[in-house]
C-alpha cells in the first residue's frame, strides 16, 4: 500500500476543498482499502467521511426518505420506516455482503464502489477499466459477467443498493467545488462503458461528493420486493438480483419499476418487464411473462448463459412476492 495523507475533516465544505489532486473519500473503506492493498490505486490523500456525523442519517418525512451518504447498510436494513415503506431497499441492504461489512459499509460507498470483476481487481491484468487495452472477460472467464449492455467492457455493476434505489427512483444530491450543488436522478448517475468513460461507472467527478440520497414518498398502493440469487448463502456477490416496485390498485398493477442487478455494467432497467405488468392483474402467468420480457434481448457470453434463465425466474418470483404483499 502506498503512503498517503489521512485527513479527518471538520465540515462538508472542507471535504470539497480537500478533494483534489489524487485525494479520495473514505467512508467504510471496504472497497477503497481492497484496491489500495492490491496496488491498483494509490491515492495521495484519504478524507475520512465517517468523521462527519451529520452525513450519517436515515430520515423519513412527507417528501419521502432521505439517506445520508454514510448511513450504513446495517442502519438502513434495520430502519423501521424503510422496512415498512421501502421493503425492497431494506431487503437489498440486508442482502449485501455480511453482517460485519454491513456494519461498516455505507450507502454512498456502495453506490460508488468499483467493479468486482476478477480481472479488474488483480494488478496483473491491465484491463480496459484500468486504462489497459482490453476487457479480458470477453474471451476469458466470464461466468459472473454481463448479459446486458456489455461491450467493450463486460463488468457488472456491483452495487446492490443501486438496484433497489433505482427502482424507487432515487435522486442524488451532489456537492462540487466552490459549493456548487446539483441533483442527478440515480438512473442517470451510472454510465455504460463508452469510449470516454472506460475507467468510471458513474458521472460523479473526482472533486464531487454525494451529500444525500433522496427517495420520493411511495404513493398509496405501492409494494416492493428485492431478490438475489447467490452461489453461497454467506457473503457472496450475487449471480443476479432484482428489485420490483409495483403501484397497485386492488389486484391490478398500474405501473411497475423493475431493475436488474449484477447483469449489466449499470443497474439495468427491465422496461419490457415493466410493460408486461402495466395494467395487468398480477397472476402467475403475468409474473412469468414479466420474467420472459425482462430477459428478452440478453446477450450472454460463452460462460454466463445460465444468467438468462436465472433472471427470468428471479424476476417472476420478485413480482409475485411484491404483489402478494400488503402495502
Amino acid at each position: 500500500m502506498n503512503r498517503f495523507e489521512y485527513v479527518i475533516p471538520k465540515s462538508v465544505d472542507q471535504v470539497v476543498a480537500l478533494l483534489k489532486g489524487g485525494a479520495v473519500l473514505k467512508a467504510g473503506g471496504i472497497d477503497l482499502l481492497d484496491q489500495m492493498k492490491e496496488g491498483t490505486i494509490a491515492p495521495t490523500r484519504l478524507i475520512n467521511l465517517n468523521a462527519l456525523a451529520a452525513l450519517r442519517y436515515v430520515r423519513t418525512d412527507a417528501t419521502g426518505l432521505r439517506l445520508g451518504p454514510t448511513a450504513t447498510l446495517a442502519q438502513i436494513a434495520a430502519d423501521g420506516a424503510v422496512r415498512g415503506r421501502y421493503a425492497a431497499l431494506a431487503e437489498a441492504a440486508a442482502s449485501a455482503a455480511n453482517p460485519q461489512i454491513r456494519n461498516l459499509a455505507t450507502v454512498g460507498g456502495n453506490l460508488c464502489q468499483r467493479p468486482r470483476c476478477w480481472y479488474f481487481r488483480a494488478a496483473e491484468f491491465p484491463c480496459l477499466k484500468k486504462g489497459g487495452p482490453t476487457c479480458f472477460a470477453k474471451e476469458g472467464e466470464n461466468k459472473y459477467h454481463a448479459i446486458f449492455g456489455g461491450g467493450p467492457s463486460y463488468i457488472v455493476h456491483p452495487s446492490t443498493m443501486a438496484t433497489a434505489l433505482c427502482a424507487f427512483r432515487a435522486n442524488l444530491h451532489i456537492l462540487g467545488p466552490g459549493g456548487k450543488t446539483r441533483e442527478v436522478p440515480l438512473d442517470k448517475f451510472f454510465t455504460l462503458p463508452t469510449i470516454d468513460a472506460y475507467e468510471r461507472e458513474n458521472v460523479l467527478a473526482a472533486d464531487e461528493l454525494i451529500t444525500e440520497i433522496a427517495l420520493p414518498a411511495p404513493p398509496e398502493g405501492t409494494r416492493s420486493a428485492f431478490l438475489a440469487a447467490k452461489e453461497r448463502q454467506v457473503h457472496d456477490w450475487p449471480l443476479g438480483e432484482v428489485a420490483v416496485f409495483l403501484t397497485m390498485r386492488g389486484e391490478t398493477c398500474q405501473a411497475a419499476q423493475v431493475v436488474l442487478g449484477a447483469v449489466a455494467p449499470i443497474p439495468w432497467r427491465a422496461a419490457g418487464a415493466e410493460a408486461a405488468l402495466a395494467g395487468k392483474r398480477v397472476t402467475a402467468d403475468v409474473a412469468a411473462a414479466a420474467g420472459r420480457a425482462a430477459v428478452a434481448g440478453a446477450k450472454p457470453l460463452h460462460g454466463n448463459g445460465y444468467k438468462v434463465a436465472l433472471m427470468q425466474a428471479l424476476v417472476a418470483r420478485a413480482v409475485h412476492v411484491a404483489a402478494a404483499r400488503r402495502s
Binding site: E124, G140, E141, K230, R232, Q233, H235, G305, Y306, L310
Partner: protein, 757 residues
C-alpha cells in the same frame, strides 16, 4: 517378553475372540470389555481455554526481539525465463536488511514461483522493496488446461529438468510417459483381462465424471519465523511435519539435524499442504542468516492459493459391470488429472478399497501443467474417485432395479461398513421416505442420496514418547510432533492418565518441538494411531516403575498392586494404599523417566476404516441453487479416543465435503494462464449458512492391532460427501451431475439438457 493374549474384537453385536502377539513392554490391547473412564469419553480439549482466549500462540504470534519481516516476489507468469535481475535498488532501500533471489536463466514453471525475497524492518518496507526488484522475463508458451496439455503439440512443462516421481505405484504396474502425460496402468488381480471380465457382466454402466482443483485454504497460511543463535537455527513453523521440516531444512542448509530445532505449539490447519518445509522456510532461514536477525515470513492468501498445493482435478471414465443379482464382476477406470508441476493425480483408491471387485483395471494419468504443484489433500484421490464410483454404483443399482443400499451391502469388503449402512438407513428418515429419482414435484425439490468411503490404517513407526513423573507427582508426556488442531494434545493426556490411573490434571503434554522424541508428520490420518499406542506403552512402563516404588513402601509384591483414582492400593485390600503423590515423593533421584517406541502392529480385526454418508438436498429448479440440508455421517475409526474431537472431525470432513461439492474451484484464466480467484472472496468456501445439519455417528470397533485399538479419522470423513450430494441431487431432479463443483449454472444446464424440468 512377547506374549500371546486373547482379546475381544468386533463391533456392536458382532464380537469374537482373537489371539494376538503382544510385543515386549506393551500392555494388552484395550478391547470391548475394557472399562475406561477417560479414554473414549467426551473430554474437552486441554488447550480449549488457551485457544478461545487468544493465549495460544501460533506462528503468526511469534515475535523474537529484533525480528524482521520478509516477503516473496512470485512469478507473474505461468511459464517464463528470468533474463535480467537487478536487486541493487531493493537492497539500497532504507530498512532492507537482506535480499535473496533466484539466478538469471532460471525457468519458472508456474505463477507464484519464488523469484526473489527481501527481509526488512517492516512488512511495508519489504513490500516497497519488492517493487524495486527489477526483473525481466522471457515469456514461454504455457499450458494449464487438462485437455490441452494432453495433446502431443502442447508446450512441454518439463522440457528440461527432472520430472517429479509418481507418489505411489501399485506393484506390477506399468508406468509410461509421453509428452505431459505419465500413465500408470495396473490390474487386480495381476494380468486380469478386463475386457473378458466385463463381457461376463449382465448389466453395465459407463460414464465420465469430472472434478475440479481444490486448494487447501487453511485459515492460517504457511509461514515460519527463523532465528539463528550461532550455527543453531530455530524455526517456528505452521507445519504438519515438525521433523520433516527439520530434516529438509538441515539438508538444504547443509547443517547437522541437531543444529535445527522446529517448533509448532499451535496450528491453524493444514489438510496436507504443510507436510514439508517448503521453499519459504529455506528462504526465511537464509534471509535471517544474512541479516543476522530473526525473520518472519508468512505467506499471504494469494501465495497460499498459487504455490502451496492443491487437490488435483480429474476426468474419469468408468465402466462397471455386475451380474443380474448385483454381484460386481469388473471395473475399468481411466483417469486424467493435473497435479500442475507436482504429482499424485490418481483416483483409484476407492475402486481398490471399498468393494469386492474380482477384476479391476486402472489407467491413471498425471497430466503436467504450468500451475502450482498438487500436494496430499485430506484423503488424496478418494473424494475424486468416490464422486465417480459412488455415482456409478447408484446408476448400476437403478439399472438393476435394486435398492442402492442392497447393492452396496452385497459388495462391501468390510462387514463393519455393512452395519454402518444399516445404521444410517435406520437413522435417516428421509432415506426411508425417499421417492423415485425425479419424482419430486414443485420448483424446489428435495432428494436424498448415499455414498460409502473408506480409508487406511496408517502408522508411522518412527514414533517415540517420553514420560517423566516428577517427584511432586506431576506427569509430563512428550512427543515432538504437532497438534494440527485435531486434539492430539488432549488424547495424549487422556491415554496417559487412563493407563496410570491418575486424574487428567496431573498430566501436562509437551509437543510440537523437535528437541522432544520423534513423532509422525500428520498425513494419512496416522497421527493418532502412531502416537496413542506409544503414549500408552510409555505410561504402562512408567506405571510399573511407580508400582515398584509403591511396593517397597507398602511392603507388597508389585503384582498385588494397582492404581486407580490417584491412589496405589492392594488389589485385595483397598485400604492398604498410598497416594500417587506420596509415591512420587519417594522416587529415587527426582523423576521416573521412560522412553517408549511405537511397537509394530499385530493381529487386527479390520485393516481399513469405513464410513457412509446420507445427504439430504434441496434443488431450486429455476435458479439452479442447491442447499444441503442434512448429512447423516456414520464413521468408524477403531476406538474413538475422545468422542468430542472425533465428532469434530466428522463435522469438519462433512463441511469440507459440502464445500468441495458445491463451491470451491480454482479458476485459471485460459488466456493468460493466471489464477482468477486467488483470494477467499471469489474462491468460495462453505460458510456458516451453507453448512447442513450434521448428525455424526461413531461406530466403535474393537480392533486390536495396537494397544489402544485406534485408527485415524481425519481424512475418511470428507471422502463420500460430494458423491452423496450428487446422488441426492439425482434423486431430487432425475438428472445426474457429473461435474464438480455443482454450481447453479451447471444445474440449470443439466436440467435444460436432461429435460428434467
Amino acid at each position: 517378553m512377547a506374549r500371546k493374549v486373547r482379546t475381544t474384537v468386533g463391533y456392536d453385536g458382532h464380537f469374537k475372540d482373537l489371539e494376538v502377539d503382544i510385543p515386549e513392554g506393551e500392555p494388552a490391547p484395550w478391547d470391548a470389555r475394557s472399562a475406561l473412564t477417560l479414554v473414549s469419553q467426551r473430554v474437552p480439549r486441554v488447550d480449549a481455554v488457551l485457544k478461545v482466549t487468544g493465549r495460544a500462540k501460533y506462528t503468526y504470534d511469534v515475535h523474537p526481539p529484533g525480528m524482521l519481516y520478509a516477503k516473496i516476489l512470485g512469478s507473474p507468469h505461468p511459464c517464463a525465463k528470468i533474463t535480467k535481475l537487478d536487486l541493487s535498488k531493493a537492497r539500497a532501500l532504507p530498512g532492507v536488511k537482506a535480499v535473496w533471489s533466484e539466478k538469471v536463466g532460471k525457468k519458472l514453471l508456474f505463477q507464484g514461483q519464488e523469484v526473489a525475497a527481501v527481509a526488512a524492518v517492516s512488512l511495508d518496507v519489504a513490500e516497497d522493496a519488492l517493487k524495486l526488484v527489477a526483473v525481466e522475463y522471457e515469456k514461454r508458451p504455457f499450458v494449464n488446461d487438462l485437455e490441452k496439455a494432453r495433446k502431443p503439440d502442447a508446450p512441454q512443462v518439463f522440457d528440461s529438468g527432472p520430472v517429479p516421481p509418481p507418489r505411489r505405484v501399485p506393484s506390477g504396474a506399468e508406468v509410461t510417459h509421453a509428452g505431459n502425460v505419465r500413465t500408470i496402468v495396473a490390474t487386480q488381480p495381476p494380468g486380469v483381462d478386463i475386457g473378458k471380465a466385463l463381457a461376463q457382466a449382465e448389466v453395465l454402466v459407463e460414464g465420465t465424471y469430472r472434478t475440479q482443483v481444490q486448494t487447501h485454504s487453511a485459515l492460517e497460511t504457511h509461514g515460519t519465523v527463523a532465528k539463528w543463535e550461532g550455527d543453531h537455527l530455530t524455526l517456528w513453523s505452521s507445519t504438519q511435519g515438525t521433523f520433516a521440516t527439520r530434516d529438509q531444512i538441515a539438508e538444504a542448509l547443509h547443517l547437522p539435524k541437531d543444529r535445527v530445532r522446529v517448533l509448532c505449539d499451535f496450528m491453524g490447519g493444514g489438510f496436507g499442504a504443510k507436510l514439508n518445509a517448503g521453499p519459504y522456510s529455506v528462504i526465511a532461514a537464509r534471509l535471517a542468516r544474512d541479516a543476522r536477525a530473526p525473520v518472519k515470513l508468512m505467506l499471504d492468501r494469494k501465495e497460499e492459493h498459487l504455490a502451496t498445493g492443491n487437490r488435483p482435478d480429474s476426468a474419469q471414465w468408468l465402466k462397471l459391470g455386475a451380474k443380474r443379482d448385483g454381484t460386481l464382476v469388473g471395473l475399468h477406470l481411466k483417469s486424467y488429472g493435473t497435479p500442475g508441476v507436482g504429482t499424485g493425480a490418481g483416483v483409484s483408491g476407492p475402486a481398490r478399497a471399498i468393494y469386492k471387485i474380482p477384476a479391476l483395471r486402472t489407467e491413471e494419468s498425471d497430466v503436467f501443467t504450468n500451475a502450482g504443484e498438487a500436494r496430499p489433500f485430506r484423503a488424496p484421490g478418494h473424494p475424486q474417485g468416490c464422486f465417480a464410483l459412488e455415482q456409478a454404483m447408484d446408476e448400476l443399482a437403478e439399472k438393476l432395479g435394486m435398492d442402492p443400499l442392497a447393492l452396496r451391502k452385497k459388495n462391501l469388503k468390510n462387514p463393519v461398513q455393512v452395519a454402518e449402512v444399516e445404521r444410517g438407513a435406520a437413522l435417516c428418515q428421509a432415506w426411508r421416505g425417499r421417492g423415485r429419482p425425479g419424482a419430486a414435484k414443485g420448483v424446489v425439490r428435495r432428494g436424498v442420496g448415499v455414498a460409502c468411503g473408506v480409508w487406511y490404517h496408517n502408522v508411522n513407526p518412527a514414533t517415540q514418547v517420553q514420560i517423566d513423573i516428577h517427584n511432586d507427582g506431576r506427569v509430563e508426556v512428550k512427543n515432538g510432533a504437532q497438534d494440527i488442531g485435531t486434539g492430539t494434545r488432549t488424547f495424549m493426556a487422556q491415554v496417559a492418565a487412563e493407563e496410570m490411573g491418575i486424574p487428567l490434571d496431573l498430566v501436562t503434554v509437551r509437543m510440537g518441538d523437535t528437541s522432544l522424541p520423534i513423532g509422525p508428520g500428520s498425513g494419512g490420518s496416522c497421527t493418532t494411531p502412531s502416537i496413542a499406542p506409544t503414549v500408552r506403552a510409555a505410561a504402562y512402563q512408567a506405571r510399573l516403575k511407580m508400582v515398584g516404588v509403591a511396593a517397597k513402601l507398602l511392603k507388597a509384591a508389585p503384582d498385588e498392586l494397582e492404581i486407580s483414582g490417584g491412589r496405589i492400593h492392594a488389589i485385595s485390600d483397598m485400604a492398604r494404599s498410598i497416594t500417587w503423590k506420596q509415591v512420587a515423593a519417594r522416587i529415587p533421584g527426582d523423576k521416573v523417566s521412560v522412553l517408549a517406541s511405537r511397537a509394530a502392529e499385530y493381529q487386527v480385526f479390520q485393516e481399513q476404516v469405513g464410513g457412509v454418508q446420507f445427504a439430504e438436498v434441496e434443488v431450486d429448479t429455476e435458479t439452479g441453487q442447491v442447499r444441503v440440508r442434512k448429512v447423516t455421517a456414520i464413521q468408524d475409526c477403531g476406538r474413538p479416543l475422545n468422542r468430542l474431537t472425533a465428532e469434530s472431525q466428522v463435522n469438519g470432513g462433512v463441511i469440507q465435503g459440502v464445500s468441495y461439492a458445491l463451491f470451491e474451484n480454482r479458476q485459471l484464466d485460459r488466456t493468460s494462464g493466471r489464477m482468477c480467484n486467488p483470494n477467499l472472496e471469489a474462491y468460495k468456501i462453505c460458510g456458516a449458512n451453507d453448512c447442513p445439519d450434521i448428525e455424526g455417528v461413531l461406530v466403535d470397533v474393537s480392533n486390536a492391532g495396537n494397544n489402544a485399538g485406534v485408527s485415524g479419522i481425519g481424512e475418511p470423513t470428507t471422502v463420500p460427501t460430494s458423491a452423496a450430494i450428487a446422488n441426492a441431487i439425482y434423486n431430487a431432479i432425475g438428472v445426474r451431475m457429473r461435474e464438480l463443483p455443482i454450481t447453479p449454472d451447471r444445474v440449470l444446464a443439466a436440467l435444460h439438457k436432461g429435460g428434467g424440468r
